[in-house]
Amino acid sequence: MNALEVTNLTKTFEKVIAVDNASFNVPEGSVFGLIGRNGAGKTTTLRMMMNIYQPDSGEIVFKGEKVGQDFKDSVGYLPEERGLYKKMKVIDTLIFLSELKGKSGREITIKAEDYLERFELADRKNSKVEDLSKGNQQKVQFISTILHDPEFLILDEPFAGLDPINTNLLKQIILEMKDEGKVIIFSTHLMDFAEKMCDNIAMIDQGKIILNGKLDEIKKKFANRNVSINYEGDISFLRGNPIIENMEDFGNTTGIKVKKSEQVQELLRSLVEHNVIIKKFNADEISLHEIFVSLAGKEAANV
């Protein structure tokens, strides 16, 4: 069952096609990653999902209807570039933003105070936002994203610019929300994060969706011909070897793609023959990064 269905979404800015006929589905209860490098069209896609941008064409369907105010009310949205009213008090900010979502009253105030307590901000509740440190402002922004108890979380590059403490805090929030059966959609250019946290992904490159589906299925599909190895020694003899289609060398970890799946054993044999010490040989793991590179092309290698 899909929570959200995105069909043929297109958005153009002054002759630049930001999002080009993008379609993907977000299943119920999933942690969904929208993955791509900077400028690929992630933020534009999320803004269209939030109805902040009007798509040129295409539609986003939520519970059988085009997204509208109902959807907005049920989403907690954390934009990439965060912002709050600088002169407003912390507690006023939280109550105001929650009221915009249609949740107000005593209950919300108590909940806001609970969150402030948990995030170690209880003593700052009457401070102005501008008097808080950047890290604490981010915490206030997280609280404002989840205070109204949204069904969906849409987070645009949520880990960008976070210190380690806040990164953990946000991960914790995401996992809690996941356990409560909520849908979490986030965009990132950090493949590692996506790989660890998502169960579904859509990969976007130059405005086009180049891959979409369950992460484990995608990995299975791409895994057969891919080998990742940890080693000591010299593997440069593999370059130009007829069984190798592609090789990505990170020093002592390497992702190798062979031309045919049965050539994996041949690869292992030749490594041993060349006195390379194999510490780990994983014939069915492929990193999301490798998948991305194989699809988006060489220039994506330094993402």
Binding site: E14, R47, M50, N51, I52, Y53, Q54, Q69, K72, D73, V75, Y77, P79, E81, R82, G83, L84, Y85, K86, K87, M88, D92, F96, L97, E99, L100, K101, G102, Q141, S144, I154
Partner: protein, 422 residues
């Protein structure tokens, strides 16, 4: 458009604006500023008069000299010792010599000036003034009546006229304005209505410029602080814009009512008594009209200023982009102020019906003359029509502009935003 989200935005605006220190300061400061402005003018006028002028009046005959002394001795300035005047009697050639000797005194300003009254002045009233500052109008206005009176007295002395006849001849024509109103009353006009013209025009002008500017800057700030994207994830741009404008309008109308409170009390109660010649003939209907017109003007201009704010993402760019709007407020204000010379001129009549200008010119005209009710209604209808016509356009620009950051947009781009379908 008017739903709980808009109301939430309005509430926040009121909290940030109406219940703020800035509101209290502005409410107190603007009247101080306006009265300060009038005060400075009066001050400049008063100090433009010569301080302790020291004059030498030279006449060609003894008789003229004596008569002049008689007249000037009556001056309060002379009695108080503020004006020092000495008298000499010299003929034209002797005077020329005397003047040479006085040159040093004149240049060192120990002597303010020398007045020469030749005998011929009895026929042609031509008098000469010698000074390093020979066009001192403030001084001339003071001494002319005295000289005139002396010359007239000598001229009519042997004409066997009674004092009444001489007084009659001497009197200037005095025009008293009477206001003809529809209800057949004929009322004597004082300067009170001119004071009202300046007061109401200044209030309108300053309040519009100030509220427009602050709204523009708060929109720019929402954009640059990125709070706007958070807001738009909950509300539509129309709701956001409407909430913001309504918040500002309520704040400003409340402020205007506070400013007008003394005027309202003056009209409705007898707590204060003004000197007869500065009482103004305005009634409560005018105040109500003024507030209603002000509300329309606020919606129009605050909406436009907010739109300009949405186009730019930093205060400098916004300030340089707002000049067409500023002209739209300043130009009608200048017309309104110039109405004092003739509030019924064709310029006055036309601009009090045109969109934008009528927002300032019509109330200004109403302080001076009775404008046919139909014209007042027409101006209100025109302004409302313009308001409803520009709001969808402003909303479109706002909707696109509010999410555009980075490069300063060109006007041609802004025009294209208007074509984007919603």
């Amino acid at each position: 458009m008017f739903n709980r989200r808009t109301i939430t935005i309005v509430k926040r605006e009121l909290k940030a604006k109406l219940f703020s220190k800035t509101f209290i300061i502005m409410t107190l400061l603007v009247p101080v500023f306006i009265f300060g402005l009038f005060g400075i003018q009066i001050f400049i006028y008063s100090v433009s008069e010569e301080e302790n002028p020291n004059l030498l009046i030279v006449s060609e005959t003894e008789n003229i000299s004596r008569r002049l002394k008689n007249e000037f001795d009556e001056y309060s300035e002379v009695k108080s010792g503020n004006y020092r005047i000495s008298y000499e009697t010299l003929d034209t050639s002797a005077f020329a010599e005397r003047l040479k000797g006085l040159k040093a005194d004149l240049l060192s300003e120990t002597l303010t000036g020398v007045v020469y009254v030749p005998e011929a002045a009895l026929a042609n009233k031509n008098v000469k003034y010698y000074s390093p500052n020979p066009s001192n109008q403030a001084l001339f206005n003071k001494i002319k009546p005295g000289i005139n009176k002396a010359l007239i007295n000598i001229y009519f002395e042997d004409k066997k006229l009674t004092r009444e006849e001489v007084d009659y001849a001497r009197n200037n024509v005095d025009i008293t304005g009477y206001r003809i109103t529809k209800d057949q009353k004929v009322e004597e006009e004082g300067v009170g209505n001119l004071v009202a013209l300046f007061l109401f025009s200044f209030l309108l002008y300053m309040a519009l410029i100030f509220s427009g500017q602050t709204t523009m800057h708060s929109v720019v700030e929402e954009k640059s602080s990125r709070i706007v994207e958070v807001l738009l994830s909950s509300v539509s741009s129309t709701e956001l814009m409407a909430g913001k404008i309504i918040g500002v309008v309520i704040t400003e109308v409340v402020q205007m009512i506070i400013w007008l409170l003394p005027v309202i009390l003056l009209i409705t109660t007898s707590w204060f008594v003004l000197p007869a010649d500065i009482i103004f003939k305005l009634d409560l209907n005018f105040i109500l009209y003024f507030l209603f017109n002000y509300t329309i003007a606020l919606f129009t201009f605050v909406g436009l200023f907010a739109t300009v704010g949405a186009i730019f993402d930093n205060p400098q760019d916004a300030q340089s982009g707002v000049w067409p709007l500023m002209i739209l407020v300043i130009f009608p204000f200048l017309i309104a102020i110039s109405l004092q010379s003739n509030p019924q001129s064709s310029v006055a009549k036309i601009t009090s019906l045109l969109p934008f200008t009528s927002l300032l010119v019509m109330p200004a005209r109403l302080t001076l003359v009775q404008v046919p009710t139909l014209e007042v209604i027409a101006s209100v209808v025109i302004n409302l029509a313009v308001l409803f016509a520009i709001f969808p356009l402003a909303g479109k620009i706002y909707r696109v502009g509010i999410m555009v950051t980075g490069k300063k947009p060109k006007w041609s781009e802004v025009r294209r935003w208007l074509k984007i379908k919603s």
